[in-house]
Assembly symmetry: C4
Homo-oligomer: 362 residues x 4
């Protein structure tokens, strides 16, 4: 196992060391973006364009990063984002991740495509009670997966809607990425693959196969009514879609472009966060992910209206570099940086973080 003094001391070293340690295939899968990676870069660049105005001499004694979200108390305004196949990086896979987060009292959103059984993860980490769903090709199958998750003790569901196809994952194609035999989406094994009738001349795989097994807004509406738990929609970018999510009963939305891994040229999430908040107001729970690499990025997202953020690649890098301990350390470093940013800007609580503390020129 890792000794603490072998760990990186700073966040960027986790990122560079993970990049070096990963195989070409894993690097393409976990770190690369779709297409020319314009959206991946845009996510990060948007944060780097923001400026935080420090406010010294304000009282912050006894402050905290705690938030309340959907009736739950969270120690920090950030969670671990759902990311598939953690066993590619660590033999304990999602169990290691969830435990590392738990050690910091931070919640994990477990991916439907986790490489460890969802119930096993749930029981390994008490605070890990959010589960991410993909549409399973039909209402019944999707509901079935949801109910398996709820039965295992998950209490909040996140339906990811922005990755109905793989996207143009050129970096994975180049690297020849494929799952090794011992890593699978174990939660989905019981669900047989969709069988399509062969395409005829002039038909398209995208429009004549894939498109027929995708959900529409009525399906989502139905799911909201059918599941006995709050459901957030993840992968919203357009303000109108955020408003519609609210109207069909979504417990919240997560502004996301799937980490730039699906539609290259999609806008930066930080940019769309602003437009979404403008549309749905500041009361409705809007979360976001994409491009967060530093504690100040979390501060910025919160200032611009996010109720919480999800952390993907930094956690993946922590897992790669040092397993459970690495996950825990990366999350701790993010929290330390966030606390320092709060102190320097005179914010004793997350609610004190306001839009006028951040200048964003995009």
């Amino acid at each position: 196992m890792f000794e603490p003094d072998q760990l990186p001391h700073i966040l960027p070293e986790y990122y560079t060391r993970a990049r070096d340690m990963m195989s070409l295939q894993n690097r393409a899968y976990f770190l690369a973006g779709a297409g020319d990676e314009a959206t991946l870069l845009a996510n990060e660049t948007a944060f780097s364009c923001a400026r935080i105005i420090p406010r010294p001499l304000r009282e912050t004694g006894g402050g905290s990063t705690q938030i309340s979200l959907l009736g739950q108390s969270h120690a920090t305004p950030f969670m671990v984002a759902p990311f598939a196949y953690h066993r590619l990086l660590d033999p304990l896979g999602e169990t290691a991740t969830a435990r590392g987060a738990q050690a910091q009292s931070i919640k994990t959103v477990v991916s439907a495509q986790s490489s460890v059984d969802l119930a096993q993860i749930r029981s390994a980490a008490a605070s890990c009670d959010w589960f991410q769903l993909y549409w399973m090709g039909s209402r019944e199958r999707t509901l079935e997966l949801a109910e398996i998750a709820l039965a295992a003790g998950y209490t909040v569901l996140v339906l990811t809607i922005d990755a109905p196809v793989q996207g143009v994952r050129d970096r994975e194609i180049e690297a020849g990425f494929q799952l090794p035999p011992d890593v699978r989406a174990v939660n989905l094994s019981a669900f047989p693959a969709t069988r399509f009738t062969p395409l005829i001349e002039g038909q398209s795989f995208v429009f004549d196969h894939i498109a027929h097994v995708l959900p529409n807004w009525r399906d989502v509406d139905w799911l909201m009514q059918s599941v006995a738990a709050p459901v957030l929609l993840k992968g919203i970018l357009h303000p109108d879609d955020a408003a519609r999510a609210a109207s069909v009963g979504a417990a919240g939305v997560i502004v996301s472009n799937h980490g730039g891994r699906v539609l290259d040229r999609a806008p930066a999430t930080l940019e769309m966060l602003l437009e979404v908040i403008k549309r749905v107001g500041s009361e409705y729970p809007v979360l976001m992910d994409g491009g967060i690499r530093r504690g100040v990025d979390i501060f910025i997202a919160l200032a611009l209206g996010a109720k919480a953020v999800l952390i993907g690649r930094p956690v993946v890098c922590g897992l790669c570099v040092a397993g459970e301990l690495g996950v825990s350390h990366v999350l701790r470093l993010l929290r330390d940086e966030l606390e320092i940013a709060m102190l320097l800007s005179g914010c004793a609580s997350i609610n004190d973080i306001h839009a006028d503390m951040v200048h964003l020129k995009l």
Copy 2:
């Protein structure tokens, strides 16, 4: 011949491999731009500044990329752009290109300067029925060439007006580009070169020779009336010129700067597309080319008002890398990427692609 598994798997690899495979001379001719290549770069950069807002959960089942243009049905909203001298890259030249496009039900605009006889190309590929004209120095000669093309079965003509001179092709001059003996503009062999009287002291080759054999708007007007086929004007950038093209009876315009190969410092075509559409409205057929390297670029051009786009360098790269098969594969990849972009933005048909789906900050 090429085995499919030797082909590049992704579009950028076609571009880099072609660049490596081409001779210095061919690279200068096919891939370089005029002057300092500012316009070549601007064409591409304009697209990379555009952002597509995904719209999940909209129904796209049974969708298609089909369009109707000038009364014809096209399987895709993109065609192969006219580009001279394909035999520099493949012994079968434009025949290979046209067949490769035909295999994807995609139309080719055959160049007047093709290195294979226009009739031969026409008969090799059923869907290849657009022909590009240059002004031949006089009305009569231009009409003669047009009539040869129509007699060979071409049904739509494209008059290129933006390359009356070579431009400042420094990269070709540096590379010492010249046609090898076995590659010629075979369609033009029957037309003797224009003979100029010698220049006298103080006269200029540009103003006193070249300028006298160029067409003006009245010539174009005359041609429109004289040819028994729809004629589009290619090489329009100024909105006033687009309006004038419509007024003299052009069947449409193609916003183009000749791929940045004539006037370096001409604006990006995507930028001028917006202004042209503003001027002539959304009904008049406005096409464009220049800078398209990805399926998302096609989506962007269509969203901003183009009825269709022309694909030049990507096809040239496909031809260079793998002949007919390479052309076909490049076009297939572009189509796949376009379909994915449509699915992700919830567009079941080309008509569903609207301006509000794209943010463009230039």
Copy 3:
């Protein structure tokens, strides 16, 4: 000792030579910024975006760079910024710095964390009569330090408020920076370190230890009333804080982000200078530091409203390269460059430098 002809002849060579001469640790401490160094870079970039419009043919004979500030006469509108631990770079430490500045009739703001006794520095350089304070954890201790400084002959105090914590100093952590045994903040030795009660589960070092020993506005107000000398607040960025500083009796403010060494993503000081001046008007003494590398930068800051500027890293580089002589030479070069900029823009005095002489596009 250095012979004059071994000295760099131009300012940038001081910067590059110092970078090369410093140990990795010192480079991280003196030259690096916090986090990803975005704010460090932003400070410099803001100046490089400014343009000075020359005004030839105006009379400047007999002109000078002299200013009057807080009732004192200064030979130049710039001073040496407070920077800790000069003995890391030169055995004579702050004495060398203050003497080098004195040789140019330029004032030094001595750091509370100087590695030479404050009284010793004061007596070594007649013009060196500004002293910088940190908050010492309580009103009494802070006042005690102030009174020690005043007793030693300092006449103006600068309370630095923007570095209540270390910030995310990744570059120092990477380099393993720590003070060698023979370099200490000698002025603070008499003040015992604050003792904290151990943190309990769920408490945070930042909010439950550090935050409790930081000053607030009431503390600053109290200090202003209690000290028999003018006190400036250093580390103001927000216009409201500048206004509040004025209202509690601060003799002036220094717009600063601690050279980008505390909160990475804080805005460039030049940018905030504009907003601060807009808020407090042009009469109130507003100084600034951060990003000044050239004489034209000084001109720009003055044109945009600063009454004077502080010079940090350039002086540090001078000290590193050639000790006292290097400090003196760097300051002389800055003054020469400033005089040339004044001559070229037709300004015979600092009061002639107006905002309309500078275009700033940020």
Copy 4:
């Protein structure tokens, strides 16, 4: 001597070859800029931000680049800019330059600091009848130099006012630039150097020596009245100074920042050209120099209101690479490029080049 086929074929090759051929000292003197070369770069960047909208199908037969300026006819709207010490690059110095320009019917503005006698240059090249003056420290001496030039046959004078001091020429200092014994400002040999009284404590070389021998607006006014020839002021950037130049009787102004060689951070000349034209209107003769490297740059400057432009570094590069022939060839290439730009934008004469043909986003 050079054979034509040894010459570069394209403009950029003149620039790169000259850079390689020059000694470090000459490169610093002729090609570098002051300070950090921000203004040098800004001059070029401003042009590269401009876009020319082509206008095909307009009649340009019999067109020409001829202009009328101050009652003279010029074959082209560009002249050779005054640049000192051509004998550093070619043994025939300014004679070679003037003859090379003459071969293209292009005028040279001879520098007061030419390394060949002004009368000798004048007699070597019939069209070379503009002479550039520096202020000689007093009215009488300046007038004396002007009258020497007029007596030698020069008919237009250009008083350079933007280089009263050397500027911060760090690149020259680094390179140790100094004139070799056989290269001098021969026209100025008869004028003894100004003797200054020694500076006393607290005085400044800039304000107490240099500033006392510089001209002011009254001096310039006096010169205008005293010289029997039109005088242009070179080195104007501020619109108010352009207006004042007109009011004191200057025959025109040349918007210039001395090629970025004096005040680094001065704005790009193209940017200030726009403001100057806005102020003095389109009738008053406004010329410009700085940053022109291509024929399209000339087109852009003319479109934005310049009546003519001066070409400095490109000519210097031509002289360095191939002496008189190189100068001639560089000017010919610029003219060819300008003619092509005119043809492509449908301009048969310089008067046809209008502001609406150029988009400039700075």
